[in-house]
């Protein structure tokens, strides 16, 4: 039973369920608003965003489940905007600084304080609502803002926590400064408007919820909700044999050199929680594979969440029983001024693999093999000859999932820290000077075993005009590991096909120029086999 449940029992199981449902519906309603009003395909077609609700102490009460990598990072945003207090109703803070509440620069986060009327016209803070959306371009040295960079400042425009709205009125200077520093300002303006619309919906709904429960009732219900999350986590952990489990895996490289980047974990489990000690992991690197601490936490939360039943609530209580030891200035706890774009999308996947692998030692009959372990990022941009306007495009691709005791791994799907949709070829070709020549299953790429790993993807994209292209992918040297005796999946690879020339192999992480007619062929890793 939880140690901190001083308020448990103060509300009954039905009131708890009702409060949880209402809090979750606020996050969902914000998400629906954001998705339907946003401009960029990345938010609308791919659903690369999250929305969350917090109490006055900045504790996560509910999060609309879209992108696991945002799980541990949204609370950091609320903490980071505290320096802007005191607040007025109608304020909206904006940020993307990975070292102050962000994850990587394209993820633009907004946070609003929410008030309810108090005694004598005074207003009382009841909580915060927050939205985070991956915007397709945020400036920097390459279109799509996912360059192979060595410093954060190269990756794009950095927004520390500042006000976008003050007491309900736009702060025009903030918006003007932002829009002048991105490649596609009209699209950004549309996405910013959509995020603000989502914030406003969340503000109204959270205020109404607080009004309905009353100040004390709201606090009690929030505390009970967090306690229930903690109980759910501990119940899941109780099924894991107590002990210390070590696991190590590595990133291929950091994009700046060929040297592998090891990540080490010693996981100690008991009925009272997990201690995750990442001591021995690589120091932070010149390339952009550095993960900020919030990303490392998100990846660990994700693995825990997979071990729990589907109805378990997603809130700060769920994560209380996790204790982290993160070495300073390391690849799992980066500090300025290093670049971090790939830390969010690639290193997060490897951190999952490490936590997953440690748990697999405790639960060999339950845990599947490693999945593709990369998001296979492609960012590109240039001038569209049809309109003479600049364009910027960002896409991630799935791969094979690991085979496991329950069956073969899923093929051609996103795994672990992301679940974004692909952009339909027909939507993409209408919007950009691109043509998709192939989008197929990479047969035979899943690892052998009693339960095969899932196959990866082959995606061939033709450029109809000159463009700058960035690829950031992983598992290009060694494929995802098999488990319980299963074979590794096949490693991914990237090729450049150019008319009249031999295909050229491209590295996993690279920025390069293409001519009209060039084709980028991406083959994504297969999942590991099991048994």
């Amino acid at each position: 039973m939880p140690s901190r449940s001083t308020t448990a029992g103060a509300i009954d199981p039905a009131r708890l369920a009702v409060f949880e449902s209402l809090a979750a519906s606020i996050a969902e309603e914000m998400g629906a608003t954001l998705r339907h009003t946003a401009l960029s395909p990345n938010i609308k077609e791919r659903a690369d965003y999250s929305c969350a609700v917090f109490d006055a102490g900045g504790r996560l009460l509910a999060q609309a489940a879209h992108i696991p990598v945002h799980l541990g990072a949204m609370p950091e945003s609320v903490r980071a905007v505290a320096e802007l207090a005191p607040w007025s109703p109608g304020d909206v803070a904006i940020l993307n600084d990975p070292f102050r509440g962000g994850t990587h620069l394209p993820d633009v986060t907004m946070v609003s304080p929410v008030f309810r009327p108090g005694r004598g016209g005074r207003r009382a803070l009841v909580g915060y609502v927050s939205s985070r959306a991956h915007q397709a371009d945020i400036g920097g040295m390459a279109p799509g803002s996912m360059p192979v960079a060595q410093e954060l400042v190269q990756e794009g425009f950095i927004i520390p926590p500042v006000r976008l709205y003050r007491a309900g009125a736009l702060v025009p200077e903030t918006l003007a400064l932002f829009l002048r520093n991105v490649r596609t300002p009209a699209e950004r303006q549309g996405d910013i408007d959509a995020q603000v619309a989502a914030q406003r919906v969340g503000e109204r709904r959270l205020a109404a919820l607080a009004e309905r429960f009353g100040a004390a009732g709201f606090r009690r219900a929030a505390a009970a909700l967090l306690d229930s999350g903690e109980r759910a986590a501990l119940a899941g952990m109780a099924a894991i044999p107590p002990g210390a489990y070590n696991f190590e895996d590595a990133l291929d490289d950091d994009g700046a050199s060929d040297e592998p980047v090891p990540i080490r974990l010693r996981l100690t489990t008991s009925a009272r929680g997990w201690d995750l000690d990442f001591t021995g992991s690589a120091g932070q690197r010149p390339g952009s594979i550095n993960a900020v601490a919030a990303v490392t936490r998100s990846a660990s939360y994700y693995v825990l969440r997979c071990l729990l039943p589907p109805e378990a609530p997603t809130n700060a209580g769920l994560f209380r029983p996790l204790r982290f030891t993160l070495p300073e200035r390391s690849v799992v706890n980066a500090a300025p001024p290093v670049a971090v774009a790939a830390g969010n999308v690639e290193t997060s996947q490897r951190i999952v693999d490490v936590v997953w692998g440690a748990i697999a030692q405790a639960l060999p009959d339950r845990m599947p093999a490693a999945s593709s372990g990369t998001m296979n990022n492609l960012a590109a941009g240039g001038i569209d000859p049809r309109t003479d306007e600049p364009w910027a495009y960002y896409e991630t691709s799935g791969g094979g999932l690991g085979g496991g005791p329950d069956g073969p791994g899923l093929r051609a799907a996103h795994s672990h820290m992301t679940n974004t949709l692909n952009t339909p070829a027909e939507a993409l070709e209408i919007a950009y000077p691109l043509r998709v020549l192939e989008n197929s299953v990479r047969r035979g790429s899943g690892g052998a075993g009693r339960q095969r790993g899932g196959d990866g993807l082959v995606r061939r994209t033709q450029f109809l005009a000159p463009a700058t292209v960035t690829l950031i992918g992983e598992r290009r040297r060694r494929g995802p590991w098999g488990a319980a005796g299963g074979a590794d999946g096949r490693a991914g690879r990237n090729r450049l096909e150019r008319a009249g020339r031999r295909d050229r192999a491209l590295p996993g992480k690279t920025t390069f120029q293409v001519e009209a007619g060039d084709v980028v062929r991406m083959e994504t890793p297969g999942g590991g086999g099991w048994g």
Binding site: D193, L401, A425, V436, L457
Partner: protein, 671 residues
Amino acid sequence: MAEQGGRRRLLGVDVGGTFTDFLYWDGAALRLHKRPSTPDDPGRAVLEGLAERGWRPHEVVHGSTVSTNTLLTRSGARCALVTTRGFRDTLVIGRQARPELYALHPTRADPPIPDARRFEIDERVAADGSVVRALDEDEVAAVLDRVQASRAEALAVCLLFSFVNPAHERRIAEMARDRGLTVSASCDVMPEHREYERMSTTVVNAYVAPAMGRYLSRLEAGLRAGGAATGLRVMRSNGGAMSVAEASRDAVRTVLSGPAGGVVGARAAAEAAGVGQLISFDMGGTSTDVSLLPGRVLERTDFAVGGLPIRTPTVDVHTVGAGGGSIASLDAGGALRVGPESAGAAPGPAAYGRGDAPTLTDAHVVLGRLRPDRFLGGAMTLDAAAAERAVATLSDGFGRSATRTAQAIVEVANANMARALRVISVERGFDPADFALVAFGGAGPLHACDLAAELGIPQVLIPPAPGVLSAAGMLQAPVVKDAEQGMVLRIEPDATGREAALEATFARLEAEARAALRRDGYGRCRVERSADLRYAGQSHEIAVPLRSASRAAIRAALAAAHRARFGHADTGRALEVVVARVKAIARSAAPPATSAPAASGPEAARTAPQTSTVVWDRPRRTRILDRGALRRSIAGPAILTQLDTTILLPPGWRARPLASGSLRITREGRR
């Protein structure tokens, strides 16, 4: 909308998973009948039900789950797919997302066409419709040889950008039909952009159409043999009816046949009661369907069955896994859950005497709201002691009181359903205070007043026969033909004049739709036009009714719809027309909307009024009476029973029987 049926005998019949519901207009009165479904051959229940009652309808409108079940059980035709080179795995990859975000071992259903029967043709059309690589008919012939060698009985053809330029797709379809293959071409089934969704819709059609065709011709023959002179029609997913020929060809347009009947029935009941804006609330044993009707039936095109997207228009129904059979349990975190697991019809709630899991129905029995001796008009007795035992297993968190536990179960179930109602109303910019809640299904009238209170809905309507409202909707449904055409037509913010291309497309679609209805014997119809619009750069569209193809009218229509739904509109930005739609609507014979079904046979027996203690906020003496005996308005607390449902009238609410046969329930002291 519908003509009076006169002396024509009409039947609405809804084949559900558990029961087949009949509503029969014999020329003078409505009669209802309910019998168990026959899932192995769904038509048998229809024919046997007619024989049992000796009914011989002139016309039958049928709601069918055949296409849905064929999909869910993966028992459809042996299909092949022909698509553009590089895209045969589109059906596997889909949108590359896994169905559950947090799962140790995510799984996805296999596509209905395996790898070996998906073929590619080396051709390509660009986004602007120009041909990048021409079709080689020798290659097509060779591929069709392989299709035939694979012993496929149906073929789906879906090429990239065929919604812009269908020439290649049509030629392949034509060559395949010349060889005797049954073909579904995506430019006919659903000519809209997004290749996976269009391909999936087309494949679903190819997959279910043969089963649907066989089923309907068998049923038609059976009806004739039984002496029914048939005009058999099938309910479409978006609330109209269609001919057997069309349903057999466009079977994908029937997947939401049953819920569509419910929505149309709710609307007809509301209109007869003088109510224009309503929320339909259909709560059955395992799930609840809700739909918002702001003066018209809303449609959606983002539906999926068994993981397969279906883009043909369906009634905009939102479903939650909450019904009378929903099982209550405590989760690891200590919160009370109700559903989505359901005890279903078997074993059913504990009170049915076969299972022991506590369900929502059991909670109502414990609270005295469902009367053991008056359930289903007395046709079934409930075991109150078993219900109480089951509910008491959860009473630890509730002071060991079965009554408090039962109240809590109802409260949590209401919260789940209120969330669904909020999704379709508040999240889309509608205020529930402007709507009436039309409650039906076996369990809807048990929860209607609680939900109305929760959402600030001022009035509840209970139709005359809430348990067979889908069948009633089928009787009221007009005959409809939809036609649509995808495009990407950009309109600059300052452009004036008319969109000639759009006007021409509307005219062509309208001529097609009228001709189709004429072939089915409906010479007169009216036509509605609408378009899916978005601001340039957005990738989700809003369906907007359009009276005119003038650029100013199109801009105004999008601005109004966008503002209503999202609170803002960007009138300074270019917009795009993505799909043009027309709907041709013909009147069909239907009974007067105000007729209430006359009970016949055993259900006519009235039960005497009584008074008993029922738990509301607290135990209160409560009148229990037969709904059919209600002549004047009555104040809550009261319980009204009838054959197909039980109506709760909580304290503070008043019910009034209307001339239309519906019951209007409002807050005491308000009108």
